[in-house]
Amino acid sequence: MRGHRGLVVVLAGLALLALVPPVAGMLNQPFYIDLLRRVMILAIAAVSLDLILGYGGMVSFGHAAYLGIGSYSVAVMAFYGIHSGPLQWLVAIGASALVALAIGSVSIRTSGIYFIMITLAFTQMLYFLGISVDEYGGDDGMGLKRLSQFGNLIDLGDPVAFYYLVLAILVLTLVIVHRLVHSRFGMVIRAAKSNEARTRAIGFSPYAYRLVAFVIAGAICGLAGALYVNHTKYLSPHIMHWTISGDIMFMVILGGMGSTAGPVAGALVLLVLENLLSGWTEHWQIIFGPFLVLVVLFAKRGLAGWLAGGRHG
C-alpha cells in the first residue's frame, strides 16, 4: 500500500465492497451478499497468511488449521450451550494463537522444504483429529446450533448486518497488518526474510520475531474461522483440508505477496473464478489447476504488482 495510488485503489475497493448489499438488494440478488461475505472472510485469512508468507518469508502450507480451530471453538461452545459471541470469538482467537504457538515453535526451527512439509503435516494431523472425533460429527461435521450471540448489538442472522461486520473486521485486519509490517517488529521479520545472515550479524535473533508473527497470523485466521462457521452455519473438518491451505496461499500469490491489501483482490478473483467455472462445468478443476500453474509461472507478482506497474509491488 505504498504511495497514494495504492491507497486510492484500496479505498475504492473497500467502497465497492460497502456498496454490494444495497446493489444486491436492488437487483434482488441476495446471492452476491453471500458470495462476497465468503470472499471477505477468506480474505481475512489470506491477509493474515500474507503477514508471515509475504512479509515474513515463511511458506506455511497449513494456514487452514486456524480456520478450523476458530470454527471448532465456536461450534463446540455452541454445542455445549455457550452462545455468547464475544466469549466464543475470544476463545477462537486464543485457541488459534495457542495452536500456532505449538506448531510454530517446532516448525520455525526449520526452513525451506522442511518448513513447508511440517506445517502441512501438522494441519493434516488436526484434520484427521477433526474427522475422528465423533462427538462433533466426525467426518460429516455438524450444524452450528445457534449463531454467535451479541445481544442487541448485532444480529448475525441478518445477512446485511453480518456482511458489514465482516467488512469492518476486514478493514481492521488490514489496518493492523499494515501497522505491523511497518513497525519495528515488521521491519525485523521483513529483514529476516530478505537476508537472514545479515539480520543475525547485526544482532537480531529472528526466531522469536518469526514465532510471534506466526502466532499473530494464526490468531487473526482463527477469527476468520469463527466468522466462517457463522457464515456457513455448519462445522466441517474439511475446512482444515490441505486444499484449503493451498487456496489461501493462492489468494496471497494472486493478489501479490507482501502487499497488505493484495490478498483481498486475490481472494475475490479466486472465489469468483471458482464460482464461474463450477457453474459452467462440473469438471471445473481441469481448467482451474492449469490456471494456477500458469499464474505461478507467468504472473508471480500478482494483481498488486500489476496495479503498481513499477518494479516492486
Binding site: L53, V59, F61, V106, S107, R109, T110, G112, I113, Y114, I116, M117, I118, L120, A121, F122, Q124, M125, F128, L129, I131, S132, V133, D134, E135, W242, T243, G246, M249, F250, I253, H283, W284, Q285, I286, F288, G289, P290, F291, L292, V293, V295, V296, L297, K300
Partner: protein, 307 residues
Amino acid sequence: MNLILITEQVLNGVQFGVMLFLMAAGLTLVFGIMNLVNLAHGSLYMIGAYFATSFYQWSGSFVIGALLALPATLVVGVIVEVVALRTLYDRDHLDQVLATFGLILFFNELVAIVWGRSGLYTSLPEWLSGHVELLPDLRYPLYRLLIIAIGIAVAFLLWYVVTRTRLGMLIRAGASNRAMVAALGINIRLLYTIVFGFGAALAGLAGVMAGPIYAVQPGMGESILIQVFVVIVIGGIGSIRGAMAGALIVGMVDTLGRAFLKPLLALVITPSAAQSAGPALASMLIYLLMAVVLALRPEGLFPERGH
C-alpha cells in the same frame, strides 16, 4: 493368542512401511537432487493404481495389468517432468508448491473425468487371494506378503543402483553437490529426467500394489503423500537410508497405534473415554512423532550432508 495378533499387526506395519518407502524413495531423491518440492508425486501413485486396475480389467490378468501400468506411469511422469516441472527447478520452493498443487487438481479431475468420481474396486485374482500359515494360528494374506517381498527387493535394487553403479554415483554426487556434477560435463537435464522417471515408476509401483487393498479414487494420492512427507522429515531429506528407516517407523507406529492404542488406553482410562480418544490419538501419532524427532534432530535421523 495376543502374540499372534501383535505379529499380524507388525506385518501390516511393515507392509504399510514398504508402500511408504516406495513413495518416499523417489520423492526424497527428487528433493535432494533437483531441490524440487513435488506435491504431484501422489498423483503418480494414483495414476499407477488406475492404470493397473484398468489394464487388469481389460487384459483379465493381474500380472499383465501391473506390467503395463508401470511403464505407463513412468511415461506420464516423464511427460510431467518435461512439460511442467523442468521449468520449476530454478524457482523457489513456494512456486514449486503452488504449481504442483495446480497439477494435483488437474490430475484428480482428469481421473474423475476418465474413470468417474466414485472409485474403482478390484478383487485379487484367485492365486493371490489366499493366506499363508506363517505360524500355527497365524494365517497372513499372501498378497500382503508379496508386497513386503517386492518392497524389500526394490530396496535392495535401489541400494545396489545408488551405491554400486555409475548412475548411482552421479545421483549421490548430485544430491550433495550439483555444481560439481555439472562441472563434470554430465547432462544434468537427462540425469534429472531419469531420476524423476525412476521416482515416478516407484510411486506407480506403490499405486499398482495399493489398488487391490485400498480404494482407487481421485485424491487417493494426497493422503499418502502427506504421510510420506512425515517419513521424509523423520528420515532426513535426500537420504534413501533415511527414507527406509522413516517409512518403517511411520508404517509401524501408525499401524500399531490404530490397532492397540484403544485397548491400551482402556487399561488406564474408562473404556468409553478410550473409545473416543483412542482413534483420535492414533491418527495423530505419526505427526507427534515427527514433532519429537524435529525437536531432537531438526535435520532428521539420517541427514544427507552438504547441500
